[in-house]
């Protein structure tokens, strides 16, 4: 059919145009798909897994706070107290006598394009874009079991744009049966070795639905 077209004829021009368009569309679609489907994934492949994360109910003495609409329940130890945060989110913190952060917890409903798959890259890029001058991925675990759901978790550290504070965090994107949310557990990097146990315990007790 195509071979029958005479050079210079309308049919031949149409054939050239269709063939060219097909090639361009194929190349463009492939490039577009590769760059946008899962978001950026910097250094994810080389990160070790997050250790010692296993879903467990919080100790009886801990407090709890519900995310907007009961989407999730954040459990926090008695030494922490609720602090102001964005509408619809829950944050708890413990401070030093001088007012600095000792430990910090936050639960936030899914608000953007984060997914279980793109979470590691999404979190690092988000930190760099909004809060941090540097952000470094330290560990990644996928398929982490939560009470009522499954999550992708990262451990990373970053330096804030304001005041150049160094923090290390465990941040998980968690999908339940009907909801998706993020839990962040952070401490100043210098305190992370002593703070991480209680923070990981709080993340393990995070309950979604």
């Amino acid at each position: 059919m195509w071979a029958a077209a005479r050079p210079g004829s309308t049919r031949a021009r149409l054939a050239w145009l269709v063939a060219g368009a097909a090639v361009v569309i194929s190349l463009g679609a492939a490039a577009c798909s590769a760059s946008s489907a899962n978001g950026p994934e910097p250094t994810v492949k080389s990160a070790p897994p997050v250790r010692a994360l296993a879903a467990r109910h919080a100790p009886a003495a801990w407090h709890t706070a519900n995310l907007l609409g009961g989407q999730a329940v954040l459990a926090y130890p008695p030494a922490m107290h609720l602090v102001a945060s964005d509408r619809g989110t829950v944050s708890a913190a413990q401070f030093t006598a001088a007012g600095g952060y000792l430990i910090y917890l936050n639960a936030t409903p899914k608000q953007s394009t984060e997914t279980l798959r793109n979470w590691p890259g999404f979190r690092i890029e988000h930190l760099k874009k909004e809060n941090a001058v540097t952000a470094r991925l330290l560990a990644v675990s996928r398929g982490v079991r939560f009470l009522g759901g499954t999550g992708t978790c990262v451990v990373d550290d970053y330096v804030t744009k304001i005041k150049s504070n160094h923090y290390t965090e465990l941040a998980c994107f968690v999908r339940g049966q009907t909801t998706a949310s993020v839990i962040v557990a952070a401490a100043p990097t210098a305190r992370w070795p002593s703070a991480s146990a209680v923070l990981m315990r709080a993340v393990a007790a995070y309950q979604v639905r």
């Binding site: 368009a21 090639v23 964005d86 910090y104 936030t108 394009t113 304001i162």
Partner: protein, 73 residues
């Protein structure tokens, strides 16, 4: 260069431009404020999100505190 080839080239370039534009618009992070009605739109942040240094919603993470789980701010 033949007229046929020119026609094909121009058509292909136009398609490529359209595809690149469409691709960019999908891969850029959306900055919608689903639960942030208090965020002012023009406080000079320059980055597309809520400004740092106690701007916008006055969150701890705009003051050098730990980052929250917000996908936008």
């Amino acid at each position: 260069m033949s007229r046929t080839f020119s026609t094909t080239l121009i058509g292909s370039l136009a398609l490529l431009a359209a595809l690149v534009a469409g691709c960019s618009s999908h891969s850029t992070t959306t900055h919608h404020h689903a639960t942030h009605s208090s965020a002012p739109a023009s406080s000079g942040g320059g980055g597309g999100g809520i400004p740092q240094n106690n701007g916008g919603d006055h969150d701890g993470d705009n003051n050098g505190g730990p980052s929250d789980g917000d996908g936008n701010v």
